[in-house]
Structure formats: C-alpha cells, structure tokens
Symmetry: C2
Subunit: 529 residues, 2 copies
C-alpha cells in the first residue's frame, strides 16, 4: 500500500504546510489514508517562478526530447500498477474496468502526443524566401514557426482522475510543445494526484530536465487556483469542470493587466434529435443505446446526452415508453464525491419540480442510500423554449425528453440551444436526406455532430474536435482532445532576414527536422538552397 | 467630386439619423464636404441582425463564390479612382504616393485572400476513416473542418484608412472564410469609409449575396462600438488602435454572458538592438535607416521603432551624434487628426520632461505650426528599467535611445520589455554569432524578429506574423496580416459517422474541392474509397 507524503511538487522538490486535508471515500464518507498539505499563494508563486525559470531550456529542447519525456511519464504511470488503480477507485468509486480503461487512454494520449512532438509538424513552419529582385521593392526572407507560450496552469478535473487531471490531455499537450506545467490537483482525488505527479517528477528527472518543468499543488477552495491564474508568470490555463468554475477562471484571466488564454470546458447538454423514420424503425435500440450513454459512468461524462428532441406522435410516445422501461432498468451508481451527488439530486429534482415538466421514469433505487438514481423527465418544446433553466446541464444520469409539435418547432429548439460539445441526430437514410437544415443549425451550436451514435466515448485521433461554443467551452476554436490539442499552447514567431544558423531548426534551409513546411504557400519537405 | 449621402449601411440598404458630423481637414481644421449620420445602438442591432440572417447562406457559399466577392470588392475600389485617393488625402493628410500604395496593398490583400478562399486549404480538413474491426472497440468515421464563426465586428483604424479600415485585412479575412462583417467606421475618415463601403455594397449585390453580408456604421464616441461588441449576435471583433481602446473592447467582450474573441492590435515600441560590431561598422547607415523608419508616415505606423538599445561606449556615443544629425534633417509632417497630434505632443513632451531622460535632437520645425516634429530622447538602461512610463508607445515620430552599461544590462532591458509586434537586431555576422541569447529573449517578447532591417513595411505573405504578446495585441496566437489572418474567424466542427452526402464538400470522400487534407494524420489530396 502506498504511503503519501502529501506535499506540493515545486521546482523538482517537495514542500508541506501545516494545514492539511484528507481524501474522503465516496462510498462511505470515511477518510482515506494520507494527509495532504494545503498550498498557499506563496507556493503558487514559487511553482510558477520555477516553471518560468525552466521555460527557456524546456522550450529549446528537441521534439525527440519532449517525446521521450511524455513516453517516460507513460511508463512511470504504468509502473505505478495496481496501487494507482486501487487509489483511483478508492477516491472516485469508479469501477476497475473504467479506471484501467482511463489509464490506457491517458497513456495512449501521452504516446500520441509524443509521436506528434517527435514528428514536429505541429509547429506549422512557413517560409517565404527572399525575392531580392522583386519590383517595386525587394522581399525580405520571412519565416514563421510556432513556439510555446510559457508556464501553463492546469486544473485537474473531478470526472477524469487520470485522463483530464495531473497527466491528462492538458498537461500532455502543454509539455509536448515545450510549456512547463503547474497543476492544481482536484481536491477529490489528492492521492491519485500525488501518485501521478510523482510519476511525472521521476520522468522529468530521468530526462535530465529542470524540475520546474512540472509542479503540482493541492488546494481546497479557489484561493490557490486563483493565485495561479492571476500570477504574472502564468501564460495560459486549462480547465475541465463546472460552468461557474470555468467562468470564474476566465474572468480572473481576463481581468489581468496582461490577459491570458483560458481553455475551459464547462457544460453541455449534448442534445440528441430523433427523426421520424428512426423512431419508427429503431425506437427500442435507440432507447437502450441512449440510456446506456446517459448512465455510463453514472452520467458523469461531459458528453452525457442530457436532452432528447423528437416530434410528437405515436412513435415518439411509444419511444418514451421504451425509454421509461430502459431507465427503470438502469442500476444506481456511486458518484465521484458527496458534493457532486448533492448537486445531482438538486439538479434532477429541479428537472421534475419545474411546472412545465413531468417525470417519465427513474432508475432502480438499489439498497445503498447514497447512490445516484437515473432520471428522465419530459416536457414540451414550448415549455423548453420558454424556460432557460431547462437548458442547463444536470451533471449525472438525468435527461430531459422534449416533444416538438411540428418539425419547425424541432428546428426552433435546435436554434434555441446554447453552445454544446456535441449534437446527435438519429435518422434513416430517408430522414437524413431531409435533415440538411437541422445539421446546418447544429453545426453552429456544437463542436461535434454525430449521426446514429451516442456522444459518450471521445476518440483520441487527428480529426477529433472536443470543444464547442460557450458555455460548452470558453474557446470553440480549439480542442482539448486529439492531435489538434497541441495547438492551444503555442503562438507564431516570424523571423525576417535572420541568418540560417540563428533560426530555429524547423526553419533552417536544410530542414534538419524533415518536417512538412509551407514554402511560398506550398507544402514541401524539401531543403532550401 | 463625390457627393456623400452620409448614411449607415444596413442590410444592403441605407439609413440616416438626425444627428450628423462632418470630417475635418487635418491640414487646416476646416470641415470637409459631407455630413455623416451618427448611428444608434438600434442601428448596431439591426446591422448585426441582418448579418446573422445572412450568415447561413454566406457560410454555405463556395470558396470560389467568396473569392469572386473579394475580387469584386477590389475591382470596385479601383473603380473609385481618383475620387477615393483625393478623399483619403483630404481626410488624413497622407501623401498621394502613400495613399496609392496603400490602395494597392488593400487590393492585393483582397486578391490574396480571394486566392486562399478559392484554394480552400484554410479549412484544415482532417479525416480519420472508420476502423470497424478495431479492438477492443471499433473506431467511428471522424472528420473535421473549420467553419466561420458568424458576424464579425471590425473597427476601422485611423492610421490605415484603406488597408486596416472598411475593406482592410480584418474585413477581407472575415469575408474570405464566410463571416458577415459589420464595420464601425473610424470617425477620422467617414468619407473614405462611405466610398469603400459603397464599393463593397456593390460587390455584394453583384455577387447576388444577401445585403446583410456587409454593414457599416458611423459613430463618434464609444457608444456604437460598444453596442456592437456587446450584442449577442456578434461573434468576434477585429480592432486596430490605441491600447485603451483595445482594452475597453476586450473587457466588453469578456464581460458578455457568452464572451467572444477580440483581435485587438494596440501598442508596440518595436525595439531596435544595436550590437557593437554593427555600431562600429555601419553606424551612419543605421542612423539614417532608423530615422527613415521612425519618421515614415509621420511615425504613424504600429511598427514604428520607438526604442533603440545599445551598449555605452565611443561607438554608441558617435552613433547618437549621427542619429541627432539625421533627426535634425527629418522634415515635419501633418498627422492624421488633431487629436493624434495633441497626443503626440503630450507623449513626446513627456519623453523629455521625464527626470531620467534628456533630449537628443528634434527634427526641422518647418513653417506650418500644426505639423508634428520628430524627436529623439536618451536615457540610461537603469532609468528605463526603473520607469514603466518609458516603455509606453508614443504614437508619432519619436523614439527613445537607451544606453546600457554592459551587455548584461542590455539583456536585462530585453527581458524587461512588454509584448511587442516586432523586435530588431543589427549586428555583423560576428555580433550575431554571439547573440543567440538576445534573440531567444526577443522571441518571447515579439511576434516578428528582424535582423539588419527596420520594422516598418509589413509584407503580406504566407509566413508573415503581425501580432505579439499583450499589449502589442490581445491575442498573440493569431496574425492580422498575411495568409494566416484567415485563421482568426473560424472554428473546427467534427462530423462523426455523417453520410457522405451530408458532409461539407471539404470532407466528402471524392475530395471535390481538390484540397490537401490530413487523412489519418498524413497530408493527402487523394479521394477516399
């Protein structure tokens, strides 16, 4: 069994303070082993100073060196073995298969980003060679490459203790492109955080990199997180969590004398539109698939579908019956923390306590009183359009089924939606042929459109977009999952008439990195004369 | 001679209000022909509603159609002929060659962006084909493309009445990627703005596009601009102007319930570092070149060099003498507006009225009392490091020469700098071999590094970066000049298992646009099976 030191990770060393807290079991509320020291604003400043000190050297490392670091982190995480899985389970109540799967995803993400760092094309190198004979004026030699921003503050999320926490996607994409990272660990899983931070620390040391490349702080309230975001040396912020939390960080970053970018993933209903042919032909399969997606991980995914929209009629009424049966068969589950359970109970209660809604079905209650029970409510499109509260995410296994009187009213619901991570449409080929208008509306609302599938299960690939218009995320121009996540923590620098030997390797004539570059606007791997 | 209607351009029509203003001649303060109606917040709302109504149709146009629009705008601007040149000159006091040159740049920019719209690669299409046999889970078909954001609010700048105003770079890059535009015309050149808006309006009509694709409003204070930025239908903002103005818009956009991106270009010193060998061998040429760059367009470029840094010694003292002679020979010039002149006089006065600085030289005074006179002051690095006011931009032909006691102190000045659009280094090959540390520092401070050149004269190409860390711009991850400017007003949307016929053309199997796409991470123009 692991013994926890409970200290902050700062500048490659550790530091503790007198005030501590313990992790609590979401299963029975008892304290788990380990006392974790609460960081102070001074710790935040020290971690960022160390990160800023490490930044020039880390930014100057090769892609291969950063790939080695990421692969080293993956190895160290795997080397934690069952101790890590056991602590994640104890702190989050997530089942073993999920934890092991999430560890696999985290390691896979680190390895994908290592590949991308090694390959090097992320830096978007562009070269417009000099044209000394151009009339009326000669053209200078102009070259452009993307460079890291500087120390990135990453907030661990409650619902992905591995894949979006200490060594999650934000950390991996920041490190891949040469940015030091300071993590504010989520207070829900401090032991998990310490284990993973230790793994990163060992990988940083083995790679011979300065300790300031990675830091991690524990904190209970907003103090440490705010101190990190407000510190002049912070260059960018990554966050996955609540809408209120993301907004507070966004506002803090925007209020700075020198504002910095915030990538906050906050809230999404992930609406699912059911077209008539699909309802008529596949109602039962959709009901089952939908409830599976809604209750996956006790509904604690950012992509949990929280809204169903269809056109009223016998098929939709029949579907609701099937849905009610499927929900009634859904097992209860333990949520990540007691606070999250309380918020779910309030949110799902509000969903049926609202004058314009009715309870359709609840899941099985089970025998453990602190388990979350699935819930589906129904309402009309008119009521949904008239009450903004019905468009707010309920984090957990709850969803709202909306009946539109007409197809136009269904489109009105689509137009009325706030920004979303995903939007899904179920339809037969004949349905879909008629649905170009619906898809066009949804493309303005969401970062990912899904046909005949479910929004949970986010692929880590080159083409993934995980992000959408506010309030889904604070910046829909970027993704927090997939290869393009590397684009978040970089900015272009242009070199004009800089001698070859002083250029970054990506821009040198010989193309020593062997990357694809845009030469006079055309992609090329060729060396220049 | 042109007769001005003085109205707002809204939804393809025009609308006037009772309150009007006139343009004033910067030469003699007299009113120029034409009364221009002041827009109201209701006009702002109507222009944005029209833009939002036009958005779906405009977003769905082909790249070729948008290219045709941009080329049509270029044609219509050229067709304005001498009337446009005369009005720009009357409103800005810019000399004819500059106005004609700027018109050429504006038209060239429209045509480059037309090419890019037609070519289509800007949409960054990515395809990860389905892997139905993948274990443990099949992979869905995932495709990603960038789409326009929606109505973009563009603020005309004072110092580029054509290239960064109504049909300038912000408008051109927004239109190229399918975003309707509402321009807030700069009050300094309302007649120029009306002429160009008319040209755009005719091009929009000839292209058969909805009138809401383009709107333009006149306003005197901040009311109309703020109304545009705060309106729920505004999707992004482009601005070139003062630091205070950019900050106010940034804050207004960040305060929204749904914040939107602001691309504000605000303020830059554009420091020039002179290394010892260059001072010893080319002092006179550098003095002449520097004063030429500083006084170009009466110092009214965002890239005007406002700071010189060198190491104290006989060569630097000699250089200051050469610089004083060159400045003394600089002709006075008329600034764009009386307000800008007043601000210049205050700013340049403060530069020498400061306890830690001394006047080095002023330019020739001339005979017109309202002309701006060039000015160079000197100070020590110690004084510069100790007084933040000395690091603030003075808009106009003034610059500060800083003497560092040692090379380390020169590096300290570099580290102390705020964000910059550009940073320049002059050095011999031997100087430069030793200057990797200086260049590395400057790469963290500026968007463009220049060796042995001057920062004025921004190339419009593929590799240009015009933007830098705050306060140079509000978002250093983007450029406002060059091909990459198209990246500002777009966001990715991912399509998962969407039937080929419902995909955007850029993502369809047959690759009907013939663009380079990232297929499983590899660039390819091939069609998919």
């Amino acid at each position: 069994m692991t013994a926890f030191h409970g200290q902050q990770f700062i500048a490659g060393g550790r530091r503790g303070n007198a005030a501590t807290f313990a992790a609590t079991s979401p299963v029975d509320g008892t304290e788990l082993p380990g006392r974790f020291s609460l960081a102070t604003p001074a710790d935040a400043a020290d971690a960022l100073c160390a990160a800023a000190d490490a930044f020039p050297a880390f930014a100057a490392t090769s892609g291969a060196a950063r790939a080695g670091l990421l692969e080293g982190i993956a190895e160290e995480i795997l080397a934690l073995g069952d101790d890590l899985v056991a602590r994640v389970r104890a702190e989050t109540a997530l089942p073993e298969a999920r934890v092991v799967g999430e560890r696999g995803r985290t390691v896979g993400q680190l390895r994908l980003f290592a590949q991308l760092a090694r390959e090097g094309t992320w830096c978007d190198a562009r070269i417009d060679p000099a044209q000394p004979a151009r009339q009326p004026l000669p053209r200078a030699d102009i070259r452009r490459v993307k460079v890291p921003l500087g120390p990135v503050v990453v907030f661990g999320s409650s619902n992905f203790p591995l894949a979006f926490s200490v060594a999650g996607g934000d950390t991996a994409s920041a490190l891949a492109t040469g940015n030091p990272v300071v993590v504010k660990a989520h207070r829900g899983h401090p032991g998990t955080s310490e284990l993973v931070a230790g793994a990163i620390g060992r990988a940083v040391a083995k790679a011979g990199l300065p300790g300031g490349v990675f830091g991690m702080l524990h904190g209970a309230g907003a103090t440490v997180g705010t101190a990190l975001v407000e510190h002049p040396l912070a260059a960018a912020v990554g966050f996955t969590g609540s809408r209120a939390g993301g907004r507070a960080l966004f506002d803090a970053a925007a209020r700075r004398s020198h504002p910095i970018p915030v990538f906050a993933e906050m809230s999404s209903l992930n609406p699912v539109f059911l077209l008539p042919g699909a309802l008529a032909s596949r109602g039962e399969a959709i009901a089952t698939g939908f409830v599976g997606s809604m209750t996956l991980g006790v509904g604690q995914f950012c992509t949990k579908p929280g809204l169903v929209v269809g056109i009223e009629g016998p098929d939709y009424a029949h579907f609701r019956g099937l849905l009610a049966s499927a929900v009634a068969g859904a097992a209860p589950g333990r949520m990540l923390t007691g606070e999250i359970l309380a918020a779910y109970r309030k949110g799902s209660g509000d969903l049926v306590g609202n004058g314009g809604t009715a309870l359709l079905a609840t899941g099985a209650a089970g025998t453990r009183p602190d388990d979350a029970v699935a819930l589906v409510a129904t309402t009309t499109a008119a009521a949904f359009l008239g009450d903004a509260r019905l468009g707010e995410e309920v984090f957990g296994p709850a969803s709202l089924v909306v009946s539109a009187a007409t197809r136009d009213e269904m489109l009105a619901v689509a137009r009325h939606l706030d920004g979303q991570l995903t939007a899904t449409v179920h339809g037969t080929p004949a349905d879909l042929e008629q649905a170009a208008d619906l898809l066009a509306i949804l493309a303005t609302k969401a970062g990912r459109l899904i046909v005949n599938g479910y929004p949970t299960g986010v692929e880590v690939g080159h083409a993934m977009q995980h992000g959408g218009p506010w309030p889904a995320t604070s910046d829909p121009r970027f993704t927090s999952v997939g290869a393009a996540a590397l684009e978040r923590f970089i900015r272009p620098v242009c070199y004009q008439d800089v001698p070859d030997g002083l250029l970054p390797a990506a821009l040198q004539n010989a193309n020593p990195l062997g990357i694809v570059r845009l030469v006079d606007g055309q992609p090329s791997r060729a060396a220049l004369a």
